[in-house]
Symmetry: C2
Subunit: 332 residues, 2 copies
C-alpha cells in the first residue's frame, strides 16, 4: 500500500509588506515600481537560482499556465499590469510582488514534507528581512492587506487526495470539525474553487495567536489524522465493495487510455480513481506521472499545447490525446 | 471499410408435420415418441454428421446454453420433457423434434450467405420427405400448428448490426415500411426479444403466396438495402460527428478490456461500438472474435463457465473477466 500517494504536495506562503510605504490598496504605479525594484534587486544580488519576470511581459495564456502549475496565484494575474515575480527553474520557490500584499513568498515541496517548504520560504524571508524594513507591529505581528493574514502572515497548506472519505460523504463533517480549530479544507485551486477528483487543500485559517512552527505542526498533524481516517474508510469500503472499486479503477484506466474526448471534470474524476489504483498497487504508475497529468491536462496547459485559439471541444479532444500519449508511454 | 461485418449470420427454418398423426397441440406422449423415433432413425441412418439428444437428458443450464448458441429454440426448451434434436458438431444444422411443430429444420450460415443455409436445410427436408409422409395440402401447402407458418413453412432470417440507423432513430420507420411487405425486424433472440447492441433479425412474416426462393430473395434484397442505408447513415454521421463516434468506439474498447463488472446490456452496447470500430477499421479484431464474444458472454454461457449456482452479480464479474481475457489475447 502506497500510503504516501495520498499526499500530493505541501505549500508555505508568507505575506509581507514594507514599513513606511502605502499599503497595496492605496499604492500608485510609482509605489509599485519602488517595491518591485527593491525586492528584485535584493533577490537577484543574492540568489542565482531565481529569475525575475513582469506579468505584463507574459501572454495571458502563459500566466494561466503558471497559475495551473501553482507557480503564481490568480490574484497576481488579476493585477498583471503592476505585478511581477521571481521563481526558480523547478518553480517550487516564488516571490510574488504586488499581489494582495506587496510581497508573497511561496515554497512548494513534494508529499507531506512541509518543513522543507518552510525552510525554503524562510531563507527568502530572512534575506529580505536583512535588507528591508518589514511592516511589523510588536503587538499584531506582520501587517497585511487582509486582516486574516496579519500576525505570522503564514498560510501552511497540504494538498491531499481523499477519495474514500469523499465517497463515504465524510468531507462535510470533517470540514465543520476542523473548521472549529481554525483549519480549512478547500478544493484544488484554493478559496472558492470546487473540489474535483477528491483533491483538497488543508490549510490554517488563523495566522495569529500561534507561532509559525505551531501552525505548521497543527496542519501536519491534521493531515496525518485525515490520512489515517482515509485509510480506515478505505479498508471498510474495500472490505464491502472491493470488486466495485476495482471496477471503477480499471474502467478509469481504460477510459483515460482510450477515449478521444475528455472534459476536465471527467478526467479529474478518472484520475482520482487511477490514483486509488496506484495506492492499492493495482496499477503500476509513478506518482510523478499522476501529478504531471493533473497539471498538464488543465485548460491553460492544454491551450498552450494546441498553440492557437481553441474551443472547449478542441480542448477536450487535446486533453484525451495527452492522457492517451502519456499513459501509452507507461508500462502498466 | 469492412462492409461485410454488418451481417452476422443467416438462418433458414422449415416447419413440418406428418400426415395421419395428431397435430402437436393434441399429441400425447406416445405420439411424441412415435415422431421422435421416426425422424431419429431416418436421420441417423443417412447422416453421420448429426447426433441425437433428448432435452430431458440435458441439464437446464445446458439447454439455455444451446439456445444462446442458437442451436435450439426456446420453444423446444419449454417442451423439454418430450422434445429432442439432432445437430452437427458446428451446430449450424439442427432438426428439432416436437417443438411447436413436430419437425423443425434449422440451418445457419455465416454472413449474408443465406443460400448456403437454404441448401443445408433443403437436403434434410428432401431426406425426410423421401422417407416420410409430410402433412401437405395441395391448396394450403405444408400444414403447421400456427397458421402463420402454413404454406412453405419457411422462415428466412438474416441477423444484421445496424448501429448508425439505430443512433439515427431510423429503425421504427424501417420496421413499419418493411412490415407492409410482410417482413419483420426484431431483436437478437427473435419474437418479443428486445434489441440489444443494435442487432436485429430481418425475417419474412408471410409463408404463403410466394415460393421459397422468392421469400429468400426478398429477405436478402431487403438486407442488402438496409446495409446500404446503414452505410449512408454511417457516412453522414461520420461526417458530422467523427470524433464523438471514435470516442465511443475507443471507450468501449477501454471499458470491455478493463472493467471488472459488466452487465449484459452494457456489454452488448459496448460490443456494438467495438463492431463499429472493426467496420471502420479503427480496431483490428477478427469478426469471429466479436461473434464469439456475443455468444460467450450471454447469461447461460457465463453460468456454465462459473460451474456453480451464481448470482446476477457473479455473472457480471465473470462476464467482465471473459471480455478481458479474450480481448487481451488479441493484438489490437
Amino acid at each position: 500500500m502506497k500510503e504516501r500517494a495520498a499526499v500530493l504536495s505541501s505549500r508555505i506562503r508568507l505575506a509581507r509588506n514594507l514599513k513606511d510605504t502605502r499599503m497595496p490598496l492605496k499604492m500608485n504605479e510609482e509605489d509599485c515600481k519602488y517595491i518591485r525594484d527593491k525586492v528584485k534587486t535584493i533577490i537577484l544580488n543574492n540568489r542565482t537560482d531565481l529569475e525575475f519576470q513582469s506579468l505584463s511581459d507574459i501572454s495571458e495564456l502563459d500566466r494561466e499556465v503558471l497559475a495551473e502549475q501553482r507557480c503564481i496565484s490568480k490574484d497576481l494575474i488579476r493585477k498583471y499590469e503592476i505585478s511581477s515575480f521571481l521563481t526558480n527553474e523547478k518553480k517550487d520557490l516564488t516571490i510574488m510582488i504586488n499581489e494582495e500584499d506587496q510581497i508573497r513568498i511561496q515554497a512548494l515541496s513534494e508529499g507531506i514534507d512541509i518543513w522543507e517548504a518552510w525552510t525554503k520560504a524562510n531563507e527568502i524571508d530572512d534575506l529580505l528581512d536583512q535588507n528591508l524594513d518589514y511592516a511589523y507591529d510588536s503587538h499584531f505581528g506582520y501587517l497585511t492587506t487582509c486582516p486574516t493574514n496579519t500576525g505570522t502572515g503564514l498560510r501552511a497548506s497540504i494538498m491531499v487526495h481523499l477519495p474514500f472519505l469523499t465517497m463515504d460523504n465524510y468531507i462535510e463533517k470533517i470540514a465543520s470539525s476542523i473548521g472549529r480549530i481554525g483549519v480549512a479544507i478547500r478544493g484544488l485551486y484554493g478559496e472558492g474553487s470546487e473540489s474535483m477528483g477528491a483533491i483538497y487543500q488543508i490549510s490554517n485559517q488563523m495566522t495569529t495567536g500561534e507561532s509559525e512552527e505551531d501552525i505548521i505542526r497543527k496542519i501536519r498533524a491534521i493531515v496525518t489524522q485525515l490520512i489515517y481516517r482515509e485509510s480506515v474508510s478505505r479498508r471498510k469500503m474495500i472490505r464491502n465493495r472491493k470488486t466495485e472499486i476495482e471496477d471503477k479503477i480499471f474502467r478509469a484506466y481504460g477510459i483515460l487510455k482510450n477515449s478521444r474526448i475528455l472534459d476536465l471534470k471527467e478526467s479529474m474524476n478518472e484520475l482520482s480513481y487511477l490514483r486509488i489504483g496506484v495506492i492499492l498497487e493495482l496499477i503500476d504508475l509513478d506518482e510523478k506521472v499522476l501529478n504531471d497529468l493533473a497539471v498538464l491536462t488543465q485548460p491553460a496547459n492544454i491551450k498552450k499545447r494546441i498553440g492557437k485559439p481553441s474551443s472547449e471541444s478542441d480542448l477536450n479532444i487535446k486533453r484525451a490525446e495527452v492522457f492517451r500519449n502519456i499513459l501509452s508511454e507507461q508500462e502498466v
